[in-house]
């Protein structure tokens, strides 16, 4: 029952936002309330799943296990913080007369959340594909909110490239269904497929896996299919960047990694090698691209690609690093919204996201400067932030299994990304203030969103509560093979 509530809440919120057409503040208020409720429900589901239970709403179609609950809670959290930030954003980005634009923004925001929350809750693999495809389609007009030619161009690239990926993944899904039927099974769900793993023709499963890896990998912006992502993030509104970034590094690794149990025994090494190859290519490629970045939002965009690469590399390593993979997935999804919100605050005080044009942000607004510095440290995995612990756990896990080459490469790109991001950000924060003119007030919703996003990153960096660790252990079992 609770799963149905989670899925219908955004729809109700969208309807309410649409209905309250005259009022400028109602759509945002409704959205914040609905996302807060979603977050509470998602945490309740996660708590139940952490005790090892399955939460089922409709057997074979809608259910949730530990891995699903983790992704669900992370997306709900990102939705809530992004909704908070959106209130201040829409107030600043629109004219007082443009109540219609604000309304459309929040209606689309809520509609976008439906497929996002549906991905971890659906168990039928064909329906999961549809939900993933819809996460693209329903976010296109959020990306092009700015209405400029550049924003429309970014939206076009995003739509075309990720939909091409979706078509390739669709072929993979159909081949997987074929393989399942050849194996004599009937149940086209994650668990049904895992149970039939041994009986399915290996060649068909491998073909399906590769098509789905490339298809979903395009949406997850793995190198070399990443070209759309920095363009989109440079144009999309800040709260949408935060939300998209979480969606791309949680739901997409989720649907890819869920295929690993289909490879029993030796075959698992082959699938793992593919993940390792794409993961390392993305992590190393993004770390190199981080050096030449000229725009703050693109900086965080490449960091998102790097983290998607780290998560998949760790999943491909398997064994002890498998736990680190879901740990990293959680910590990145908690840290990245904070990073983007800090970039949004910096944009407010500096007037631009062009890195070379900004200096002395800390002088102009100590709060925005401190937030940006903390955001840079948090997303690159510096202590005392949570990402540091998960990166360490991946490296340790890989070293325990004697996978020294991938571990060395990962270490290099983690350190490289850290240096590159800090090099750019410190130049912006310190020095003499470049921007002049009257100081804008720090919007309360920005401050609130920053605070809410900041708390878990720091707390989980200090210690990991036993219940969360248990949820992560259970989730990591999903990628054991």
């Amino acid at each position: 029952m609770v799963l149905w509530f989670i899925l219908t809440l955004p729809l109700i919120a969208a309807a309410l936002a649409l209905w309250a057409s005259r009022h400028r503040t109602v759509p945002g208020g409704v959205t914040v309330l609905a996302t807060a409720l979603q977050l509470l429900l998602a945490l309740a589901v996660a708590a139940r799943c952490a005790s090892g239970a399955m939460v089922t709403a409709l057997p074979g179609w809608v259910s949730c296990d530990a891995f699903g609950a983790l992704v669900l809670a992370l997306c709900a959290f990102a939705g809530f913080t992004a909704a908070l930030f959106s209130i201040g954003f829409t107030r600043r980005a629109t004219q007082p007369m443009e109540a219609g634009r604000v309304r459309r923004y929040f209606v689309r925001f809520n509609l976008f959340l439906v497929p996002v929350l549906a991905v971890p809750l659906l168990s039928n693999v064909a329906l999961v594909w549809i939900a993933v495809a819809l996460t693209t389609l329903l976010s296109i007009f959020l990306v092009s909110f700015d209405q400029s030619t550049a924003a429309l161009e970014a939206a076009w690239k995003y739509a075309i490239l990720t939909s091409m990926g979706a078509a390739l993944a669709l072929f993979g899904v159909l081949v997987l269904y074929w393989a399942m039927r050849q194996g004599g099974a009937e149940d086209f769900t994650w668990s049904g497929l895992a149970a039939a793993a041994g009986a399915m023709p290996p060649l068909l499963v491998k073909t399906a896996f590769l098509f789905m890896l490339v298809g979903y990998g395009t949406k997850a912006a793995l190198v070399p299919f990443h070209s759309w992502l920095p363009d989109v993030y440079s144009q999309a509104p800040v709260p949408i960047c935060a939300l998209l970034s979480v969606v791309e590094t949680t739901t997409l690794p989720y649907v890819i990694v869920r295929l690993l149990p289909l490879f029993p025994g030796k075959a698992g090494d082959g699938a793992g090698r593919w993940l390792l190859a794409f993961g390392l290519l993305s992590a190393v490629g993004a770390a190199l691209l981080l050096v030449q970045v000229k725009d703050l939002k693109r900086l965080f965009a490449y960091s998102t690609i790097e983290n998607a690469g780290i998560i998949l590399t760790a999943a491909g390593l398997g064994g002890a690093a498998g736990y680190g993979s879901v740990y990293q997935l959680m910590n990145h999804a908690l840290a990245k919204p904070f990073g983007f919100f800090a970039a949004g605050a910096a944009l407010l005080f500096a007037g631009t996201t062009e890195i070379a044009a900004v200096q002395g942000l800390g002088r102009r607004s100590p709060l925005a400067g401190a937030a940006l510095l903390a955001g840079a440290l948090a997303v690159t995995g510096a202590p005392p932030f949570a990402l540091f612990l998960s990166e360490l756990s991946i490296l340790q896990g890989g070293a325990v299994d004697h996978r020294f080459l991938p571990v060395a490469l990962l270490t290099l790109c983690m350190v490289g990304a850290f240096c590159a991001v800090l090099y750019h950000v410190t130049r912006m924060v310190f020095g003499r203030a470049s921007a002049t003119g009257p100081l804008p007030a720090f919007p309360r919703s920005y401050a609130l969103a920053l605070f809410v996003a900041f708390v878990p990153v720091v707390l989980l960096g200090v210690s990991l509560p036993a219940s969360v660790e248990h949820l992560l252990r259970l989730a990591a079992m999903a990628l054991a093979r």
Binding site: T149, Y177, A179, L204, D231
Partner: protein, 227 residues
Amino acid sequence: MPDPHISVTLVNELNLLAAGLFLLATFGLVATRQVLDCVALFAGQSVLLAASAALLGHEAASDHLYAVAAITIVAKALLIPWLLRRTASEAVVARREISQVLNIPTSLLIALGLTILAYFLAAPLRAAAPSGQVGVNLPIGLAALLIGAFTVTVRREALPQVLGLLSMENGAFFAGVAIAPDLPLFAELAAAFDVLVIALVMGLLTRKLHERAGSTSVADLTDLREE
């Protein structure tokens, strides 16, 4: 040389014909310059997909595949062309594509190469699980998937790119009616909904591009290139 996987009956012959015409329509999408003709070709391609689904449904006595054929006709052959014409303005639909990345003979040669590649890719899969019409539908569907992706990359007008995208999905489903004939009907319906949303969203985006940039030539969109 007769293929041992294909038994020669009237239904199979008709399915072969539908598959051949389906591939021809896919080639047409690569080569046609007039946007309106591209829309018509896509509608025709969808009708052929529905025909193949109905023929396989007749062979397997499966109501399920008849339903798939009906969904395909309604969503892809009727609603999508209508939606694209409605949302993207007249001026867009009536356009002719002037410049192409590759000229038409080269594009067609590459499409031919992709078809041969699809046959080679499909051969071991057929051997792994030989059944019924898979030998016809799988390679042709895979070819349409690859040629669709190629169409998206070489076309420089917005709507032909969208149609290339939609023909990729048609290709996947052309293989799908043979390899996954009993996919739950709910999933088929949801997939049809998904392609309708694609047509609607992309049509609206095309219109906005036309209003903003004064052109729907995607080749002109180069603001975001990184140096």
